[in-house]
């Protein structure tokens, strides 16, 4: 034992062991501390990162919001102008309905409708409104209205009619959705092909089916379309691409807002895309009574409410079911004229007079020849 006491190694060991222990202990401690600091730093870093991305996201949202607000108000002006112009065009059409240039007026009307639709679409993407009030309309008329809002509308054929009508609130949205679908259908198919619209009654409501003979969509396009059409993801104006592809985004927003569904995931019998708009029962109603719906003007044009009640009650039936031969009666023509606005009456009377004048001045021998 004593010999070991002499051994410096033992003493070294005696002294070294606690020292080493201390060193190890300290090392561990500092190591733990460092680790703690590291995790702390890490968490702070992620916190910073989060705050940063939040700030970026917020800035993006704010920019998006600002863009949307600006665009929305700009579009509202354009929508208003398009509506005003449509009204003006309608008036001119009525006034000069028997003139040669009616054809040109109809073309201008068509262009204006397309212009109005574009403004509406952008407005919808910016959380704006469609800005047109409508009365209840048949699904057939809504489809025809949609048809009139695209460029190549003569390629669209509506194959079937139904007795169902769409409630007034969704007339404009459904028309816009159908117009966007038809626009896609005409854009992605050959110019000589037709686009078929079929209206079918199903247990859940009414389906409007649009078939084109185009090239169809690949899987990627289909999944993009499905994502946009679901309306679950907010659409950013900045993500529409250049040239912007509004169609599906607009449809998705409107479908989600008004509660109907649109799908484009099946192929049409002609190899193109089949788009199906399903309008649930809540959005449907029975057919409106008067087809032309000229009602709103009548009460305004009437001088006396009592007389208005009587005449308005009697007149529409008489106009509709028992028109009287023109020759003998002057008072019947008078009475029906009262329901029109004075301008309209003037234009019709003027047209009539011009007609009779030209008839009188014309060579009588030609008369029988012209008419079957």
């Amino acid at each position: 034992m004593s010999q070991y006491l002499q051994d410096p190694a033992l003493w070294g060991l005696v002294v070294g062991a606690p020292l080493a222990a201390t060193v190890i202990y300290r090392g561990r401690k500092s190591n733990a501390k460092l680790r703690l600091e590291k995790t702390e730093l890490e968490s702070r870093h992620t916190e910073l990162e989060d705050t940063f991305s939040d700030a970026v996201e917020e800035a993006r949202l704010r920019a998006e919001d600002a863009t949307k607000t600006a665009l929305k108000s700009a579009m509202r002006t354009l929508q208003g102008l398009a509506n005003e112009q449509q009204l003006a065009i309608s008036k001119v059409q009525g006034k000069y309905g028997d003139q040669q240039f009616l054809q040109d007026l109809l073309e201008i009307d068509h262009m204006n409708s397309q212009f109005g639709r574009r403004a509406q679409s952008v407005s919808v993407l910016c959380d704006g409104w469609l800005g047109r009030q409508r009365t209840v309309a048949s699904v057939y008329d809504v489809a025809r209205s949609a048809k009139g809002r695209i460029r190549h509308f003569t390629r669209v054929e509506i194959r079937s009619q139904t007795n169902f009508a769409v409630i007034s609130q969704v007339v404009e949205p459904v028309a816009l959705v159908l117009a966007e679908l038809l626009d896609n259908a005409t854009s992605y198919s050959a110019p000589e092909t037709t686009i078929d619209i079929n209206i079918r009654t199903v247990p859940k409501g009414v389906c409007v089916i649009i078939d084109d003979a185009g090239v169809g969509m690949n899987e990627e396009e289909k999944s993009r379309a499905a994502r946009l059409l679901s309306g679950e993801h907010p659409v950013s104006v900045t993500e529409l691409g250049n040239p912007p592809q509004f169609g599906f985004a607009v449809i998705g927003v409107l479908a989600a807002r008004y509660g109907f569904s649109v799908s484009v995931d099946t192929a049409s019998p002609y190899g193109g895309v089949r788009a199906v708009v399903l309008l649930p029962q809540e959005l449907l109603t029975s057919m409106p009574e008067p087809q032309n719906a000229p009602v709103p003007e009548t009460p305004a044009a009437m001088p006396e409410p009592e007389e208005a009640g009587e005449t308005a009650g009697g007149l529409p039936k008489r106009r509709r079911r028992a028109p009287i031969a023109i020759v003998p009666e002057t008072d019947a023509a008078d009475a029906s004229n009262r329901a029109r606005s004075s301008e309209e009456t003037a234009s019709i009377m003027g047209a009539f007079q011009r007609g009779t004048q030209s008839g009188r001045s014309a060579d009588p021998s030609r008369e029988g020849f012209e008419v079957q």
Binding site: Q86, G97, W129, R132, Q133, R134, K147, S168, E370, Q372
Partner: protein, 124 residues
């Protein structure tokens, strides 16, 4: 569905006239004058398959004769558009047309002269 402000209360028809004519050229109107008289053909089959405008036009004319100008007024459509509808309907045999009445009265002067002569011969 109403915009908060500047909503135009007056709104135009949902289906525009160029859709009603389906983009067809408006004819020169040598077939239908403003005063040409129209009536519905007596036997109507497949009326339900017509467009709403054509159907209501035929229904409008069911009670008797109406002039083209009157039809346009009642239907609130431009006269040219009505003429397109009429020529479609005439082709399909849904309507009949008749020459305007006043033209026939102009040729009566000879008859009148004869009546006058007769009266003068008897009482004069």
């Amino acid at each position: 569905m109403t915009a908060p402000d500047e909503q135009e209360p007056e709104s135009v028809g949902l289906v525009r006239p160029y859709v009603i004519t389906n983009g067809r050229e408006i004819a020169d109107g040598d077939r239908f004058e403003l005063v040409t008289l129209i009536t519905a053909a007596p036997d109507q089959q497949q009326k339900s398959r017509l467009d709403p405008e054509k159907r209501s036009l035929v229904e409008l004319c069911e009670g008797g004769y109406l002039s083209v100008a009157e039809i346009a007024g009642h239907m609130r459509l431009p006269i040219g558009v009505v003429k397109v509808l009429l020529s479609d309907l005439a082709e399909g045999g849904h309507i009949l047309t008749r020459a305007p009445v006043p033209a026939a009265q102009l040729t009566d002067i000879q008859v009148l002269q004869e009546v006058l002569d007769g009266l003068q011969a008897r009482f004069g």
